[in-house]
């Protein structure tokens, strides 16, 4: 059976590990030609090496020049860009009242500026060839707070807003823009901060809170399946929307 993304040229930012790597792998399996981008050249190359036809391009998404060069790479190598997954993201932990400006900027520059730049440079390339799809990796923290990651949540709320504006502005040119809002996923990013959540929030067991709220951790592969659907023609009427994927976490007030 033909893949859902045959002949599509796709960039995935932050694809050296975690969600981004899973999305790149799923896109490759569906027939897309994937450009695996990450600030960490080595991990990008490792992921790309395991995907047929994929290439690795280092990119710091906070740099306009580097994001522009990333899009140029796709267009120069493959003649066009069909899909941009603005996935690159970072997190750090602090109550707002103690958060340093550096902590604020680290997260907002990657998670929000990076998405703006990805849209900014991907959209013109897509318009030039008649359209495309942008998938922004957002988060359920765009809709409700999680203590200690106010910077992350604010940036993700900004990503949702960018998704909406871009969707409306780019609709006439055939570019669709949607956001995926995952709950807590089994990734290094979440694992790295579990202990801090437990200590600072005085929680005996972070995993138990997750189990109560969302049944279990989601997997990167599950997020990747939604990212495939949103990049494919099967979702061609969807734009500007928030796709919550969280095992029911947002559905319950309790």
């Amino acid at each position: 059976m033909a893949g859902l993304l045959e002949r599509k040229i796709a960039i995935v930012t932050g694809a050296g590990k975690g969600l981004g790597a899973a999305v790149a792998q799923a896109y490759g399996a569906e027939g897309a030609t994937v450009i695996v981008s990450d600030i960490d050249t080595h991990s990008a190359k490792q992921v790309a090496d395991a995907i047929p036809n994929a290439s690795a391009v280092p990119c710091d998404v906070t740099s306009p020049e580097q994001v522009e060069a990333l899009v140029d790479h796709a267009v120069n190598l493959h003649g066009r860009l069909d899909v941009m997954v603005a996935n690159a993201g970072v997190a750090n932990i602090s109550p707002l009242a103690q958060m340093s400006y550096a902590q604020w900027r680290e997260v907002t520059s990657v998670n929000l500026d990076g998405v703006f730049l990805s849209i900014r440079y991907a959209a013109p390339a897509m318009i030039a060839t008649g359209g495309g799809v942008i998938v922004n990796m957002c988060s359920i923290t765009a809709q409700a707070a999680v203590p200690l990651i106010g910077n992350y949540a604010a940036a993700k709320a900004g990503v949702m807003s960018l998704t909406q504006t871009a969707a409306i502005e780019l609709r006439p040119q055939g570019v669709r823009v949607n956001a995926i809002l995952p709950g807590f996923i089994d990734t290094d990013m979440v694992k790295a901060h579990k202990r801090q959540f437990e200590e600072l929030l005085n929680l005996p067991d972070f995993d138990a809170v997750i189990a109560q709220k969302q049944g279990r951790y989601g997997t990167p592969e599950e997020v990747a399946r939604l990212a495939v659907f949103l990049a494919s023609d099967r979702s061609r009427f969807s734009t500007g929307s928030a796709f919550v994927l969280d095992g029911g976490a947002r559905a319950s007030l309790l």
Binding site: L245, G248, A251
Partner: protein, 253 residues
Amino acid sequence: MAELEGRRALVTGAAQGLGRAIATLFVERGAQVMLADVDEQGAERAAAELGDRARSVRCDVTSSADVQGAVQAAVDAFGGLDVVVNNAGVEVVKPLVDQSEEEFSRLMDVNVKGVFLGIKHSVPALAAAGGGAIVNMSSLAGVGGAPLFGSYGAAKAAVIQLTRTAAVELRQAGIRVNAVCPGFVGTAMVDRLIPTVEAAVGVPFGDLIALKQGRLGTVEEVAEMVAFLASDDASWATGSHYLLDGGLSASLL
């Protein structure tokens, strides 16, 4: 992906429009489908066109006995039930003060109670199969207000709320529950309301749609989203309502 090979599904309101498109895509993707509709002959005809993986049953979703009967018909025909699409619905599109009490009650009966009964009576069969997926048809009118859509929107908002609670209550049983919220889609239902909407908004319907959502959606596009949520590709999606509106709700203008 989104393949439904071996899945046994029940789709309500399947004689025409959206429900029929959902049943058609499900069969295409490998599912066996019980087409339920209050229009018995319509459901029979639609099922006959889909071949031997489709059957039909008469079902008024406001009747517990009918909904239980439809679930049983699917279980008897296919040996079990994995997917339920609570799609049956009616519309009342007029200013609130012009709606009769009877119209309001009928709307709530079909669009809200019908979904409640669809969840309530299918859960035992879904649980017996080791889990499954329920997809409820809500609407963009369920997430935002619009003139003429007051009662319809209230009913569709209720569907979202039922979806959330059912998702959380049924998570342990391995049953996922999600909703789909389409904007304006090219169906007989939308055709019927064009003159009313034009009169109320004062803009030609085509212009309104072009401005708000680019174009009309198609029933096939809605069916794709239902198929995604019904499939294992959506294994971590539950309690969500996925919009499908060409960007309508993303913009204030």
